[in-house]
């Protein structure tokens, strides 16, 4: 076992939590991620494995919020699969075994920072960050959009008050700053 200690996207040893009156922004450091892209001619086979894994194939603009693996649509014939890092540190290898020749798997764990935004002011915050129609989204909607000039995924986890934002990890600090200043604006 190696002795290299990972750091969070915001550079800490612990995930950061910022709580405001009506909204909480929590860095989520516990996700393993890998992308799945169907090979040409193997789309059906790929769908079969996805269904087995998640219960359903995520449709465009949608996520399947399943445990322990969840997934959302990234692009035509391409999905992102997430799972708890504690149990799925080698998610990409695990998926490669399951998908075999039906899909190309790429490790994405290090590419993203993840923030969980919760609380009654979540919608107010979201509409000052990006153009997704947050008040019309329902649990399971997943859209890629721009936040502070950064390409991010916005996934509605619960109807009431929870979105998950995946943003480019190298800009975790800038994205966090945008979330915090906006939280000050609305909360």
């Amino acid at each position: 076992m190696h002795d290299l200690r990972p750091i969070t996207a915001l550079g800490g040893t612990e995930a950061r939590i910022d709580a405001f009156d009506h909204v909480t922004i929590a860095e989520n450091d516990g996700l393993a991620l890998a992308s799945v892209a169907a090979r040409i001619g193997h789309e059906k086979g790929c769908h079969t494995v996805l269904e087995k894994l998640l219960g359903a194939v995520p449709k465009p603009g949608k996520a399947v919020l399943h445990d322990p693996e969840a997934g959302f649509w990234m692009g035509p014939d391409q999905w992102m699969i997430g799972a708890p890092r504690d149990t799925h540190e080698l998610l990409a290898d695990q998926l490669s075994d399951q998908f075999g020749e039906t899909a190309s798997i790429t490790e994405q764990s290090g590419a993203w920072v993840c923030f969980d935004v919760t609380g009654p002011a979540m919608q107010d915050l979201c509409e000052r960050l990006c153009a997704v129609p947050i008040r019309r989204m329902v649990a399971g909607d997943a859209q890629r959009t721009m936040i502070h000039q950064l390409g991010c995924f916005v996934i509605r986890r619960q109807d009431a008050d929870h979105i998950r934002i995946l943003g480019p990890r190298a800009s975790a600090g800038s994205l966090h700053h945008a979330l915090i200043t906006t939280a000050h604006s609305v909360a």
Binding site: M1, H2, D3, L4, R5, P6, I7, T8, A9, G11, S35, A37, A38, R39, I40, G41, Q78, L90, S104, T106, E107, Q108, S109, G110, A111, W112, E127, R128, C130, A131, V132, P133, R135, R136, H148, Q149, L150, P168, R169, A170, S171, A172, G173, S174, L175, H177, A178, T181, T182, H184, S185
Partner: protein
Amino acid sequence: MTQVNRIGRAQVDFTKTLKFSFDGKSYTGHPGDTLASALLANGVRLMGRSFKYHRPRGPLSAGSEEPNALVELRGGARQEPNTRATTVELFDGLLAKSQNRLGSLKFDLLSINDRFSNFLTAGFYYKTFMWPAAFWEKLYEPIIRNAAGLGSLSLQDDPDVYDKGFLHCDLLIIGAGPAGLSAALTAGRAGADVILADEDFRMGGRLNSETFAIGDASGADWATATVAELASLPNVRLMPRTTVIGAFDHGIYGAVERVSDHMHTPDAGKPRQVLWRIYTKHTVLAAGAIERPIAFENNDRPGIMLASALRTYANRFAVAADRRVAIFTNNDDGHRTASDLHARGVKVVAVVDTRTEAPRSMDYEVLQGQVVDTKGRLGLTFAEVKLADGSMRTLDCGALGLSGGWNPNVHLTCHQRGRPTWNADLAAFVPGDDLPPGMVVAGAAQGDLSTADALAGGAKAARAALGLKGRMPALPEAEDAPVNITPFWYVKGCSRAWLDQQNDVTVKDVKLSHQEGFRSVEHLKRYTTLGMATDQGKTSNMGGLAIMAELAGKAIPEVGTTIFRPPYTPTAIGVLAGRHRGQEFHPKRLTPSHKWAEEQGAVFVEVGNWLRAQWFPKPGETHWRESVDREVLATRKSVGVCDVTTLGKVDVQGTDAAAFLNKIYCNGFAKLAVSKTRYGLMLREDGIAMDDGTAARLAEDHFVVTTTTANALPVYRHMEFVRQCLCPDMDVQLISTTEAWAQYAVAGPNSRKLLEKIVDQDISNDAFPFMACANITICGGLRARLFRISFSGELAYEIAVPTAYGDALMRKIMEVGAEFDVTPYGTEALGVMRIEKGHAAGNELNGTTTAQNLGMGRMISSLKDCIGKTLSQREGLNADGDLRQVGIRPVDPNDPVPAGAHLMNADGPIDAAHDQGYATSACYSPNLGHAIAIGFLKNGSDRMGERMRLVSPLTKVQVDVEITSAHFIDPEGERLRA
């Protein structure tokens, strides 16, 4: 001073008193007041000086169309020029100053300009300040700038923050007057997602300014009750203090919400304003109408204002502009003002009506005639009336209301090239048929000026927009008076009669413009400045147009109208910038070892959005060159480490992955063995070099491709273009992994020894030769990738781990490398070593160079097609004497060799015609002990050893140089393979 001009009660909260100051003098007002209403209440009519002639001016209007009452609001860094006193919501501690004056407002020294008005007519600047040219910058411009212009800036950073936001709705309603409220009620009750936006801080529009009833309630009370009902509907979003500034394509509207402008300072962390981008399926424009004045001699004195403004001040703010008032009208609406003022106890001296059939009144005298002149130095005292029979009357009054008819607010209907059409009954332009898609216009904005029409029009518009079926619900009864207008624009024979009070454009100026041939509306505007500046001619354009039509002998619609463009009202740059300013102008990208580099005191450089360590100064180093030289020498002597995470990385998988790389790179990849890496050069389709990098084959169907840091995004876009648009059936899948992996270059003769301490596998030269690559583990099990590639020319590797472990790996490398004096190096040392090695980079792949120029012409495979191959074979790109990459060294080792300087032959003229080439990248080589450069030289491969001159006329540098190979260090590449 007490509030001498308050009359009765209104929509102002008299239970609370607000203190404010204007030009250093203290006054009081109440919540619900604007700055203008509070000043008028205190007997202050004079609020500013005019733009050109510095004539005394007071408010003309009670709304955002105001041309005159512009003030500097607040102080210090928050000082804001050109703020309309008629829209500023009064708050406690408000500080305002008049502007555009030299000395005090009452004794403006520049009012001398008014005496020279004969010289300052239309086109004056064009005609006068033409010659001599040198006088312009030194003399004319400073004087003009000092004299003209409006308010002044604070010249400090704006301390406030601004937000942006995005809203989605089924129906956007612009304007919360009777039509807008009626539309909102209809749509809101039907369950649609509705946004109702109004620029005013109090919704209700004209209903707040009128006395007539809607149903059983007063108009204002009906508005209050309606707004309360709308507020209770969860599907309706009320946005007061919000100006819709523009109608853009496909149902996108821009709106500025003034969140904190009505407060002394915004609450901590809260924005001052928010710029909303509203996405809507349908829009009801219910922006109302603006009354227009009538032009006559000296019609600009403080106290002369729109009749509807007098009515608004009286009914909404309980303010009389003066206790003695006269009205000048060409329609019935002027009489409404007279009776409202009379009912409030204001003395209506007379109503002067231009029409032969004017209504009579028991309450005030009606004179058939025209106001032909006025008196009063700092404010109106007398109005001269010429009666229909030719006799003269002098009216003793401090305020004069002008009612020349109403102009529907068609502004937003024109933002998508719409053209308004002429309505002769109203003598006004109304919205045309070519509205922005999805827009319906209702109420006064459509030309339906009565309240009953507005209520009906709003409801109908909402029903039409949403496709509501069934019977139209009953609407409350409301005033339904006709307009009865006889167009009358200006009093004949007047000259100094103001059309555009903001720009001091008179009737005479328009006549002069016509006389001198500037007759199209657009020419008129630019020659006279009519309709420019903050009010964009909202009260003046029609007058100018009417006079031009008369002079040209045409009907008004034949002359045309100027096109309206966003924004509807002046918009602060700050709110357009939002949070994207200063440090937040763009997001930053930090590498995984950023924190570690900061701890080492690294100096950072911006590369795109990335922050990269440029060099790592050590204690005692006083110049960046000392640090960089040390880093280079230490790396070439033992081992150095550099964070190269920023290089673009793309995962290329699929059974056709190799075929795909064959297509995008000019050299071949099909035969590259698994566990091997190859340099690749990418061409644009026109044959010019686009980018370079390496492709590592991790499996038969899996490559990892690198791009340069700067081109990561465009190269990825290009690869997707080739995949989706050119080769749609290739089995290849792409995804960026730039940020998924932390990657470090470990370079120098001891690099293998260092890595052997952490890599779990055998990496001896036999097991892991030059250009090898592999998935490995390090430190007893962490997954990693190792590539034996070299940018420095030394024995070197690049090692990658999942990003979260990047920080730990860097610290581990420094720890285990201590015995080799491992040296972190930055982008400068990286640059020096690649120049010493003659590797091309961004300066060489600069969008003008070909593979041939770069000395890589033979890399273009003859065995296969690739992007750019055909056009790279063009004659013009393969001529004799083409540029070739070369090395450049100074003959005298003490001389510099500046990048960007041009190569000239040893003898002969130095000019563009004799240009031989240029230096692209230069540095001081600590290994050679002198400056070196690489560059491009005509026929360069055949000119090794030639003496030339490197010249930069711009920086006055001329150096004797010798042309060499670009490979200054280890030209045989022995170190790489060691």
